[in-house]
């Protein structure tokens, strides 16, 4: 039984007004820098306004095109996700007009001038013709495409006021053609202007709302959140309750010729001032490192040569980021890098494309190039001065040489403290380290690094708190060191004999203890991460061919298939088909041998009148005795021309013979 909806005002979407699709594509092209494509696509989609021929697509063809668009969307999603992770959603958004272009082509050049809902929704397609007309109907996707172009254009995120104005104009243009005719244009105009003014105020309000809410939540985050890689500032979990848990996510990969003999520290930044659970630096400035001429290489010290290299692959969520590097870094090279900067506190900041990038690290044997110590590197917060004085006295540090102090402190923490990632007791604010030193004697790396740094300062040795990663998990299968989020670590560096040296007093059990919390899914996640890395990252050098776009090659056979589908369809003249709408008119017998003779008669005697049959015409223009001889041929011709069931070869032969006989007689 036919099912119909009821009680609705459903009327199907009408086509977009002429020129609107082109205009929206231009907006998209301008914002996303696909202007050339946009112009070409817009012209192709608006061209049917001026040409008459159309392609007779069947429902099956349109379904296949919709499926193809779906496949392209899927490939694009996988590709973009691998390249840009979740940030890629905006990339997909940006490319949507390309994805839907095929369907728009089919709509604009098809005789149907619309797309059936069954092509767009598999669930409706499964119902077949049984689906009621309230779900299965032909709709015009022109206006939705216009909006998709606008939303895609918004991902360009440029010239916001102009963008708003252009969107307002496009939407007003669309509304003008759909307006209710019984109201005057003035009322319509007043309504639209009023709506646009309020829209402008609303969009400014939304922006302001985000700023305000972000400020509020960031304030909360600063207070309670976990660390962030900021060269100016880092908060620690000193004083936090509960169990520290860092994820197993692979943050970066390090490929070396041979495994390290001991864990290697990759630092992100060093800090000199400690206050209430946070470390910070005063006035951090970055210096741009000059790129080596004709090479994708940045040399930190022009006088040194690399003693060894290692290849690093890291996932960047932002185009500008602090990267972990070994202390004695000397060169950075890679085609993904755009700019390299370094700070006086040893942070290295790069500018590169987002997603997985590769670079080569060259390092020298000498120690690093950080700024010489300042007074800040000897400062102890006033609240802790007595505590550290007490420990220093207890360890007799004041009477020891700096090297002896280092050894004593290392031994002190090794003998008296143990590692723990669980903190159950709440301490008085500003007394966390006191509790750590004298009561609990347990904590995680931040406690050890901070307490050691402050204790050495008490003994007169300048120190800096350092954060970064400990590179220690080697994957024999991938022949690469995998550095996970849980390998994040903090240690300190001290200044002795005119150079900075690393020191880590955290018990070495910290890494195995944190690894105990890894999930069962870790191997699977690693495999996915490896796949994503393999399929999206390029090579370090320009010389080798970039294989990161291999997925795009899949589009070539799809494109070829599509072109073939388009080309193989019979083109239909829209004018000729107007009465029938869809079916193509097949003219049997148009090659009848009688036509040259009729043309000759028309030229020599008189032309046939509209509506006049051949027999009547012959009867009119020829004498009766002569006309008689034509009647039989006309009958044969009529059969050949209009009887689809007759033997065409035989009839054509008979006409030819009769014409030959007629020639003979004449």
């Amino acid at each position: 039984m036919e099912k119909l909806g009821n009680n609705t005002t459903t009327n199907k979407l009408s086509p977009a007004p002429p020129g609107l699709i082109l205009a929206s594509l231009l907006l998209w092209g301008w914002q996303t820098e696909y202007l050339l494509y946009a112009v070409a696509m817009g012209i192709v989609l608006e061209l049917p306004l001026f040409i008459k021929w159309r392609i007779d697509f069947t429902d099956k063809d349109i379904n296949q095109l919709a499926d193809l668009s779906g496949v392209i969307f899927f490939i694009l999603t996988v590709y973009v996700f691998m390249n840009y992770s979740f940030q890629g959603i905006f990339k997909i958004l940006e490319l949507m007009p390309f994805v839907l272009f095929l369907l728009m082509l089919a709509q604009c050049y098809g005789v149907q001038n619309g797309i059936k809902t069954s092509a767009l929704f598999i669930s409706i397609r499964r119902l077949g013709e049984n689906a009621g007309p309230d779900v299965l109907y032909q709709t015009n996707i022109g206006l939705p495409y216009v909006f998709i172009c606008m939303i895609s254009a918004s991902s360009g995120n440029k010239f916001s006021d102009y963008f708003f104005a252009l969107c307002a104009i496009l939407i007003a243009w669309m509304l003008f053609t759909k307006r209710t005719r019984h109201f005057s244009k003035l009322i319509w105009l007043a309504a639209v202007i009023m709506a646009m003014i309020f829209s402008y105020i609303t969009q400014n309000g939304l922006r302001q709302l985000q700023n305000n809410s972000e400020a509020f939540f960031l304030g909360l985050f600063e207070q309670y959140g976990w660390r962030s890689t900021n060269p100016d500032y880092t908060s620690t979990s000193i004083g936090s309750l509960g169990r520290l848990k860092l994820s197993d996510r692979i943050v970066f990969r390090v490929k070396t010729d041979k495994p390290f003999s001991a864990p290697l520290y990759f630092r992100e930044s060093a800090y000199s001032i400690y206050e209430y659970g946070s470390w910070r630096n005063p006035n951090v400035e970055f210096d741009v490192i000059v790129k080596t001429a004709n090479k994708n290489e940045w040399r930190f010290n022009k006088n040194k040569r690399d003693t060894a290299t290692m290849d690093v692959a890291i996932y960047l969520q932002d185009s500008s980021a602090i990267i972990p590097v070994p202390d004695n870094i000397n060169t950075l090279s890679g085609k993904d890098l755009i700019q390299v900067e370094t700070s006086i506190y040893g942070s290295t900041r790069i500018e590169a494309r987002e997603g997985w990038i590769n670079y080569r690290l060259g390092y020298a044997t000498d120690d690093f190039i950080d700024m010489a110590p300042t007074d800040n590197d000897l400062a102890i917060p006033s609240g802790y001065q007595n505590d550290f004085k007490q420990v220093a006295t207890q360890l007799n540090l004041y009477s020891k040489t700096p090297q002896q102090v280092i050894n004593t402190v290392r031994q002190y923490f090794n003998d008296n403290f143990y590692y723990s990632i669980t903190q159950n007791q709440r301490y008085t604010k500003g007394k966390y380290l006191t509790r750590f030193l004298f009561k609990d004697k347990k904590g995680h790396c931040e406690y050890f690094a901070t307490a050691t740094a402050l204790l050495l300062r008490e003994a007169g040795i300048p120190t800096r708190y350092t954060i970064g990663y400990s590179v220690q998990e080697y994957s024999p299968w991938q022949k690469t060191y995998l550095v996970r989020a849980r390998h994040a670590h903090s240690w300190l560096k001290y200044y002795l004999d005119g150079a900075w040296h690393n020191m880590d007093t955290t018990p070495s059990v910290w890494a195995p203890m944190e690894a105990e919390d890894r999930t069962l899914l870790e191997p699977l996640m690693d495999l996915l991460s490896w796949l994503r890395y393999k399929t999206t990252s390029g090579d370090i050098d320009d010389k080798k061919e970039d294989t990161s776009d291999w997925l795009l090659w899949l589009l070539i056979p799809l494109g070829a298939y599509l072109a073939w589908r388009f080309y193989s369809r019979q083109r239909v003249d829209q004018q000729a088909n107007k009465p029938t709408g869809i079916t193509k008119l097949v003219r049997y017998g148009i090659d009848s041998p009688i036509y040259p003779l009729l043309k000759q008669l028309e030229k020599e005697v008189d032309s046939k009148q509209p509506g006049e049959t051949l027999s009547k015409w012959i009867q009119r223009i020829l004498p009766a005795n002569k006309a008689e001889r034509y009647y039989n041929i006309i009958r044969l011709h009529d059969r050949y021309r209009f009887n689809p069931g007759s033997d065409k070869v035989l009839e054509k032969e008979l006409i030819i013979r009769s014409l030959a006989l007629l020639d003979k007689d004449e």
Partner: protein, 449 residues
Amino acid sequence: MLRRLLFANFKLVYRFSQWLRQRFTATGILILLIIPIAGVFGFDTRSTLSFQIFSITLVLIITAMSFSLFFRSKFSINRKLPDYGSVGTPLTYSCVVYNKNKTAKRCLLVIDELKTRFPSLNEFTKAKDPLDKKRNRIDRIIGYPRLVNAIQELRGGSIKPVTIDYIAEHSEHETTIELTPLRRGYLQFDKTRVAQAEPLGLFQSQKIIENKDNLLILPKLYKTPKLNLHGKRTYHHGGVSNASIVGDSQEFISLRDYNPGDPLRSIHWRSFAKLNKPIVKEYQDEYFTRYGLLLDTYLQDKTDLIFEDAVSIAASFMTAQKEQDALLDLMFVGNNTYRFTSGRGLAGAENILEILACVEPVYESNIAQVKVMIKEVSHECSVLICILLALDESRLALIRTLTTLHIPVKFLVVTEASEIMDTEVLRKHDVHLIGHDSLQQDLDTLWKS
């Protein structure tokens, strides 16, 4: 519990979707859809400018909806319905819209509405969607399409909105509305909405006018072959009038003396006066063909479509027979046992169709009652046609009973396409299958076989 919760939400979802469809134009719905999409992508105002599109579309919709506050028109509606309609066949009726306003009105949309009853939880759980097998798993499990289908069934028809370009002030306009009935029985008209889109063309301002009416929809009819069962004419005491209990006989043959028990109305008063003793009119005893049509109403777990098919077949047979001297008995068991007779001087085909329009299926077995009824009336029947809804053990027993009556019996079993029947049983009892998907085709071949 979960189903109850889902069902409660379905009510909200359905009402909201109906409200959207009734209130928004196609362009309005498109803009409404853009709001959440632009909102999602524009959530971070620094990542994209999508929030600007969100603002524009949101404010446009609010502006459009605000216009409906100023819609203050008055109308009255007069519907002129036909006597009957038939399932699946679109019918038209006229509707007179009277503009009570002081100004002329343009571009109005008239939406006539049938009463929409939301099914109960019990009805929803029992409801069957004919397209269920073709739907995806989620739709099947959650069952929202099934609910929509059940609502459409209860509503019973679909009415296309019509537009009125112009009505002058204080004048009326007659318009034709098309209704496609989806089920038999009475359709209840509830109200009429007169809508006018606001200047932006996104939202409809509406005036709702209460306007109740009923329309009887008859079962769908199929072309049936002429019955050609060689049943003998049987003796019916008292002629046609007696067979039907009511009416006067046309077959008067003579006068005779009164016998005790003769009805008073048979007394020939003129002869009584002349002879001074009671004389009565004597009628010719009639022999004629009396077809019995038994409709099985016990649906069990079959879909309603099967029952609808059975009713349609019964209706088709009841209306197709044109023999002047034949009577047709329609028999079925519902709350009671029913037997309706049509024929010369009795109820016409339209009366029978009215009865069939209101037959409801029964979900508890009544085959035993059917047996009793058939035994009582079988001696009057020349031919019996049984339209069955299944071929289970109880019905097979009924078939066996009927075949012992020594009158020609034709068994028709309405089946779903997927049903498999025992061919041996079919052949033995001369049972004909009528497939839901090939109903007309099977009816055409019925007597040829």
